[in-house]
C-alpha cells in the first residue's frame, strides 16, 4: 500500500518536477488573486454609482460570470476563441478567466463590504470637501475591507485551489506537474504528494480564516 501511494523512491524522482509545479502555482496565485481583487474592486466601485444604466449591465455581468463554471470558461477561451482567430496562450487564458470569474465573486464581497459602511461616513467626508474617489479610498474601503475580511480570505482560498484548473490548458502548475510525474513513473504517489502540498500550503489560511470568523462572531454577539 505505502509502496503504491507513498513510494519514497518515486517521491525522490518526482520531487524536482513537483517543486517546479509548486513554484508555478504560487506564482499563478500571486497573479490571479490581485487580478481578481482588482476586477472586483472595479465592479464594487461601479456598483456604488446608483444609476440604472450602470446598475443593470453590472448586475448582468456579475450574475453571468458567477453562474458560468470557471472550467467551461477557461476551456472556451483556450479551445473556442482560436476559431474566432483569437489565440491566447494558456497563461493569458487563465488570467482572463480568473479576472472574469473571481473578479465577479470578489466584486460581490467588496460591494457588500461597501454597503456595510454607514452612509454618514461618506457624507462626513464629502462635507469637508473630500472628493468621491478619495472618500472611497481613504474612508469607505478601509472599513469595507475590514468588515468582509473573512469572506475575502475565504474566496482567496478558493481562488488558490482553482489555480489547479490551469492544468487543463497545460499550465505547468502543481497538479499538471504531478500528472506529468505520475505518467512518467506509472505511480500515483506524485498525486498524493501534490495533495499533501496543497494541504500544507492552504491549512494556515484555513486556520486564519477560522480565527477571523470566530472573532467576527464574538464581535457580533
Amino acid at each position: 500500500m505505502l509502496q503504491t501511494f507513498f513510494n519514497l523512491e518515486i517521491i525522490e524522482a518526482a520531487w524536482p518536477i513537483i517543486l517546479a509545479g509548486l513554484g508555478n502555482t504560487v506564482l499563478l496565485s500571486l497573479v490571479v488573486v490581485p487580478l481578481g481583487l482588482l476586477g472586483g474592486l472595479g465592479l464594487a466601485m461601479l456598483a456604488s454609482v446608483r444609476k440604472p444604466w450602470v446598475r443593470w449591465p453590472l448586475m448582468a455581468w456579475v450574475d453571468f460570470f458567477r453562474a458560468f463554471p470557471p472550467l467551461v470558461l477557461l476551456i472556451f477561451l483556450y479551445a473556442g476563441l482560436p476559431f474566432a482567430g483569437l489565440e491566447l496562450g494558456g497563461f493569458a487564458c487563465v488570467c482572463v478567466a480568473f479576472f472574469l470569474n473571481t473578479g465577479a465573486y470578489y466584486g460581490e464581497i467588496l460591494r457588500a463590504g461597501i454597503d456595510s459602511v454607514p452612509a454618514g461616513q461618506t457624507e462626513a467626508a464629502r462635507s469637508t470637501g473630500v472628493g468621491r474617489l478619495q472618500t472611497m479610498l481613504y474612508v469607505v474601503l478601509p472599513q469595507a475591507v475590514r468588515n468582509v475580511l473573512p469572506d475575502l480570505l475565504s474566496n482567496t482560498l478558493e481562488v488558490v485551489k482553482l489555480t489547479s484548473l490551469g492544468s487543463v490548458v497545460a499550465m505547468p502548475e502543481l497538479l499538471f506537474q504531478a500528472r506529468q510525474a505520475q505518467s512518467l513513473t506509472y505511480n500515483p504517489t506524485p498525486i498524493v504528494l501534490a495533495a499533501v502540498i496543497y494541504f500544507l500550503m492552504l491549512w494556515p489560511l484555513v486556520r486564519l480564516l477560522s480565527r477571523l470568523e470566530n472573532r467576527a462572531l464574538a464581535g457580533r454577539g
Binding site: Q121, S127, T128, G129, Q134, V139, Q143
Partner: protein, 247 residues
C-alpha cells in the same frame, strides 16, 4: 448687528419622489449670525441644512454661500464645501483613524497641506475643542461628547465661513451635552456664522440671534428667541414649544 448676507437660500423646494419635503424655503443669514431651526420630526430641518452644502440637491431654488452659487454646475463643490463645516447628530467620525487623522484627512487630501502642516493645524483645532491630549485616540476610545468635539474640530480645521449643526447633542448622554454646547458657544464668540438644528432651548435663548420654526416643509415663523418662545404668533408654534418644554 446684521452684516452682509453670507448664506442666501431662496425658494428652496425639495422632492423625494412624490414626497414634497421643502416647499419654498427662504433662509438668509448675515455674517456672524446664529440661527436656530426648530420644528417637529419630519418637518424638513435636516433636508434644509443639507441643501446648504449640497449634500442634498434642491429640486429648485438657489443657494449662495459666501458669494459662491452652490447650484451652478461650474462650481467646484469640493472647494466650496471646505468653507461650510457640518456637524452631524451621529458624529460620523472615521472609526479607523485617530482623532488627529480624522481632523487632518481633508487638510491633506483636499487643502493640499503637507503632513506636518496638516498635523499642526489639526492639533490646533483639537486644542480649540479642548482635546489636545486626545489626538492619538481612536473614536472608540472617546466618549460621545469628545467624539462630537472631534467632529467639530474636523470641520473648523478647514477654517469654514459657516458652520451647520444637525442636532449635535441629541445622541449624547445629558451629562455630556454641556461640553459640546460650550465649544459651540466659543465658536459663536469667535464670530462664526452658524445654523443650528436643535431643541436645546436654553442654548437657543442664550446664544441664538434668531429662531426659525419649520413645519411640513415650510418656515411658519421666525423671530428672536424671546419672541418665538414667549409670544409665538402661530398656533402650531405655540403647540410645538409647549410640547418640547414639557420634556
Amino acid at each position: 448687528m446684521p452684516g452682509k448676507p453670507i448664506v442666501e437660500a431662496r425658494g428652496i423646494h425639495k422632492h423625494f419622489g412624490a414626497l414634497h419635503v421643502l416647499k419654498g424655503v427662504d433662509l438668509v443669514l448675515a455674517e456672524r449670525e446664529l440661527v436656530f431651526v426648530i420644528g417637529p420630526s419630519g418637518s424638513g430641518k435636516s433636508t434644509l441644512l443639507r441643501c446648504l452644502n449640497r449634500l442634498e440637491q434642491p429640486s429648485s431654488g438657489s443657494v449662495v454661500v459666501d458669494g459662491v452659487d452652490l447650484l451652478d454646475p461650474r462650481t467646484d463643490i469640493n472647494h466650496a464645501r471646505q468653507r461650510i463645516g457640518m456637524v452631524f447628530q451621529s458624529f460620523n467620525l472615521y472609526p479607523h483613524m485617530t482623532a488627529l487623522g480624522n481632523v487632518t484627512l481633508a487638510l491633506r487630501k483636499v487643502a493640499g497641506k503637507s503632513r506636518s502642516e496638516a498635523d499642526a493645524l489639526g492639533s490646533a483645532a483639537l486644542a480649540r475643542v479642548g482635546l489636545a491630549d486626545r489626538a492619538g485616540h481612536t473614536p472608540g476610545q472617546l466618549s460621545g461628547g469628545q467624539q462630537q468635539r472631534v467632529a467639530i474640530a474636523r470641520a473648523i480645521a478647514l477654517e469654514p465661513r459657516v458652520m451647520l449643526f444637525d442636532e449635535p447633542t441629541s445622541a449624547l448622554d445629558p451629562e455630556l451635552v454641556g461640553s459640546v454646547l460650550g465649544v459651540m458657544r466659543d465658536l459663536r464668540e469667535s464670530g462664526m456664522t452658524m445654523v443650528v438644528v436643535s431643541h436645546e432651548m436654553g442654548f437657543a435663548r442664550n446664544a441664538a440671534d434668531r429662531v426659525v420654526f419649520m413645519d411640513e416643509g415650510a418656515i411658519i415663523e421666525e423671530g428672536t428667541p424671546a419672541a418665538i418662545f414667549e409670544t409665538p404668533g402661530h398656533e402650531r408654534t405655540r403647540a410645538f414649544i409647549g410640547q418640547i418644554q414639557r420634556h
